[in-house]
Amino acid sequence: MAAPTDDTTADGTGPTSGSAPAPTPIKAVPVRHPGRWVAIAVLAVLAAMLVNTILTNDGFRWDVVGRYLFSGPVLNGLSNTLILTVLSMLIGIVGGIALAIMRLSPNPVLSYVAALYIWLFRGTPLIAQLLFWNFLAALYPRLSLGIPFGPEFVSFDTNQLINQFTACLLGLGLNEAAYMAEIVRGGLQSVDHGQSEAAGALGMSRGQALRRIVLPQAMRVIIPPTGNETISMLKTTSLVVVIGYFELMTSVQRIYSVNFQTIPLLIVAAIWYLALTSVLSIGQGFVERRYGRGVHRGPTGARLLPRRKTAGAT
């Protein structure tokens, strides 16, 4: 059962190098692209103008930018932005996976409950949700654990249980879960039905098939929009200002409302947001390659070291 191997062609040397005379390479005048040169010239002028104005316009106040870039309040805001983004995305992803599985469940009650949740949380403004969680105490002054309609075991003051920070996490995380649910559902549905069937025929339970076979393949579809959501969340966290919490954007606004250096401080914020976005994009690249295994054709060696070689090939 000798199989024809792809290996021989992988190194570039074809089977032709034996007896046949070497073919004459084509010599032709390449197509000219004058349009490209025009485009390059126009863009070069525009770029020169941009650099010029950045360097010569004193309104940018690069000295102010430099002074505030690593200042205490800005770094405090930055760390809050990071913590809020990471934790609410974590809630969003875990909640989203759970909701997506519920939504696709053969149990109609679970499916409808998930649909209702998604409808509610996608259909109302995030600001309203943040304010709702923050003012939950107005609706329920005390929260308690106990038997429904029966005795209570413990009871908490709502305002102590849900401070501004937890209200932020609830608002951002629960809202994100609704969006992530749809992303995960799309990913799960993109995997060929034959995959879960093959897993089932091997005696895997639905849970095992989901965890080992379907979800890893769905990840390829889930990751890019999740990267979008994370980068979007980075900036959406600035909404927490409505309930009096602060992050990067709030810190910057507080500073320029006092010293009126609006533009330089907005640049400070922009630099940090761009830095975080860059880090996230790189991280996303690594995760995508991890879950892209087996998708692209290519020589075995490159496939086994996906991190190094296939980067350019994808």
Partner: protein, 259 residues
Amino acid sequence: MTENGHDRPMVEAVGIHKSFGSTEVLRGVDLTVRPGEVACVIGPSGSGKSTFLRCINHLESIDAGTMTVDGELIGYRRRGDKLHELRESEVARQRRDIGMVFQRFNLFPHMTALENVMEAPCTVRRRSKKEAREAAVGLLDRVGLGNRRDNYPTQLSGGQQQRVAIARALAMEPRLMLFDEPTSALDPELVGEVLDVMRGLARDGMTMIVVTHEMGFAREVADSLVFMDEGRILEAGAPREVLANPQHERTQAFLSKVL
């Protein structure tokens, strides 16, 4: 032919009915396959042969009749005179012993050939990685792909993929193998390598039910040949008999087109 002590059939289907919506796909199928026997099922497309095969491991539930594999009722439990549906985990346990090979391979694309073969023994049978690996290496050697174990499915030809799929099913050490048109999605020159592997399996005494269009394979390897049309078995018997001397007119019409 190997016997399992008493002369119990490996598969016993009695009066199997199955409908999808208002379409009746199976209208009373009876089939008995003895241990070590190779049964080939042929028939025009839409005759219900694939559906019947999928009823044997409960990928499709049946509407009427009884399906028994190695003496065990598939999909249900009889308590008194009542049938109880089996729970998902119990169905999964029954499927462990029934290997299945699909027309479109359905290999797991995010795993290498070796990982594909190791997967079910590890997650379902809880074998150790080392043990499963040794077995998988042996199985890939057996289907002639020992040098392909680190390739992903996209790097393999259709015939190679189907052979990995056979190894993957064998890794669960099934008592019965179901083949659902295993060569129909293959280029003509790749059909032979898959049939070779199946021929080897038959020689080793595996009980097999093969839905196929390969009449040559059926004639040469099968112990019995079954012709299905419109959800019924119209003719069954020794392959040479059925192929050379079909009794039913629809069998004759079908064979005149494919032979």
